[in-house]
């Protein structure tokens, strides 16, 4: 369908963008438009004003430093894919971004747009939550930082206020020796995942520590599964440990059922994908038939 009527503004600065949001009830930020424009085409949203932040170059930075990685809100999937340093500095980020949408979407879709849209099956919110990221927001009262785990409140719902703008995502540094794996399942290449699992842990004296297991596409928001992570910490990661962890993960989720997959199927996917991701992390190869 054609888009509903709206007005358009292209501010020259972040404060100007915030002011526009404040002055116009229901106004929305337009970045890459790869989620917002389809939503408007379906008439699921009809904002009276789009505030195009396409001119705000201060939101396009990728910074890798001792305190971690910062991705500006306007960083595109293409920018992450082509960045010379990210594959070494954060291989999980690169692996997750590689699964996002299709070639043409990847040239315009942005980090901030995906976080704000908060699709339960999207990779970027899952990445932010799985890696204990912080989301930096700016609004009329200044800047605030919200932990990713507190940012997403439900499917397509976040704590972002109508007059706030996402500035950047920050994630902690990634130790080079960290073990990790990422798996998702979708019916066709580039589709939203029916479920996905991102797993990583560090090792000390042969045992796992700091285990993280995040799942997405399963519940209304992406989530780390502490119950399952606890089964890895302090243990040697073997095929048996992984199997028990994956089973605990499947028990810990409360999956959504929809026309793409019923809840029981998604629960089974959590077990399978968590097991595959952890086996990949542990260097164990595929599950024997």
């Amino acid at each position: 369908m054609k888009l509903p009527r709206f007005d358009y503004a292209r501010p020259a600065s972040l404060p100007e963008a915030v002011a526009l949001l404040q002055e116009h009830d229901g106004a929305k930020i337009l970045a890459g438009g790869q989620s917002l424009l389809p939503v408007m085409a379906f008439r699921l949203a009809a904002p009276p004003l789009l505030v195009d932040i396409g001119g705000l170059d201060e939101l396009t930075g990728i910074a890798i430093g001792p305190t971690g990685i910062r991705l500006g809100a306007r960083v595109r999937w293409r920018d992450i894919e082509e960045h010379a340093g990210l594959a070494d500095s954060h291989p999980l980020l690169v692996a997750m971004v590689a699964e996002i949408a299709h070639y043409q979407i990847r040239t315009r879709g942005t980090v901030g747009g995906s976080l704000a849209h908060a699709d339960p099956a999207a990779e970027m919110p899952a990445f932010a939550v799985a890696c204990d990221g912080d989301i930096v927001l700016t609004g009329p009262a200044g800047t605030r930082i919200v932990a990713a785990r507190d940012f997403f409140t439900g499917a397509l719902e976040t704590v972002l206020q109508p007059d706030e703008i996402i500035v950047e995502l920050r994630v902690p540094p990634w130790p080079r020796e960290r073990r990790w794996g990422f798996e998702e399942f979708s019916r066709r290449r580039g589709d939203f995942a029916l479920a996905g699992a991102a797993a990583f842990y560090d090792t000390a004296e042969g045992c796992a520590e700091n285990a993280h297991l995040g799942v997405f596409g399963v519940e209304g928001t992406p989530r780390r599964l502490a119950v399952a992570e606890a089964l890895l910490n302090g243990r040697i990661v073997t095929a048996e440990t992984i199997e028990a962890t994956a089973a605990a993960a499947a028990r810990a989720v409360e999956p959504i059922g929809d026309l793409h997959a019923e809840a029981a199927y998604r629960r089974a996917l959590v077990s399978t994908l968590a097991e595959r991701a952890l086996r990949r992390a542990a260097g164990l190869g595929a599950v024997p038939a």
Binding site: G33, Q104, G190
Partner: protein, 172 residues
């Protein structure tokens, strides 16, 4: 903003020519190209970013023209399928499509050509797996994709030698 949604003038380069057009903010790039500029080579399929039929090249990147507002195209350099052939001569990519019968009904073809053109311009050595991955964003219901992949594979050589390549043509 006394008249919300009123038209504004945007200017961009289209297949090497400067164009200026008045658009409402809600006008997508593909509708602007087809309805206002009369360039109907770019097709409109799903209008929700799924099918890839409307793919055009904006500042060297393949984009879905149904998911970009015409007003966002201000100041950009756009290449559409009309920009591939020169005068009466098909580009090497188009010739390869013809040789391999890489189209049947032709509805998806402009989008597939522009996706492949963007890919080969950036990655002239893309292998079959990469070509398949990139073309996964374009739906074709006729060919089964095999002749399309073969045509794109064959066209690669033209993008490696700038003298005969199609790449510079769109940026005249």
């Amino acid at each position: 903003m006394t008249d919300p949604g009123a038209s504004r003038t945007v200017s961009f380069r289209l297949n090497g020519e400067a164009v200026e057009v008045a658009v409402e903010p809600r006008t997508t790039l593909v509708d602007c190209l087809r309805h206002q500029l009369g360039r109907t080579g770019t097709h409109v399929g799903c209008e929700q970013g799924v099918c890839g039929a409307c793919t055009v090249i904006v500042d060297r990147d393949a984009v879905r023209a149904c998911l970009m507002l015409a007003i966002q195209a201000h100041g950009t350099e756009i290449v559409t399928v009309e920009g591939l052939a020169s005068e009466d001569r098909l580009s090497p990519l188009q010739q390869a499509f013809r040789r391999h019968h890489a189209l049947q009904c032709g509805f998806c073809t402009p989008g597939i050509l522009m996706t492949a053109h963007a890919l080969l311009t950036r990655e002239p050595t893309a292998d079959a797996a990469r070509i398949r991955e990139v073309l996964s964003g374009n739906i074709c219901r006729c060919t089964g994709y095999i002749p399309i992949v073969e045509a794109v594979l064959e066209a690669r050589s033209a993008y490696r030698s700038p003298a005969t390549g199609a790449a510079p043509q769109g940026q005249r």
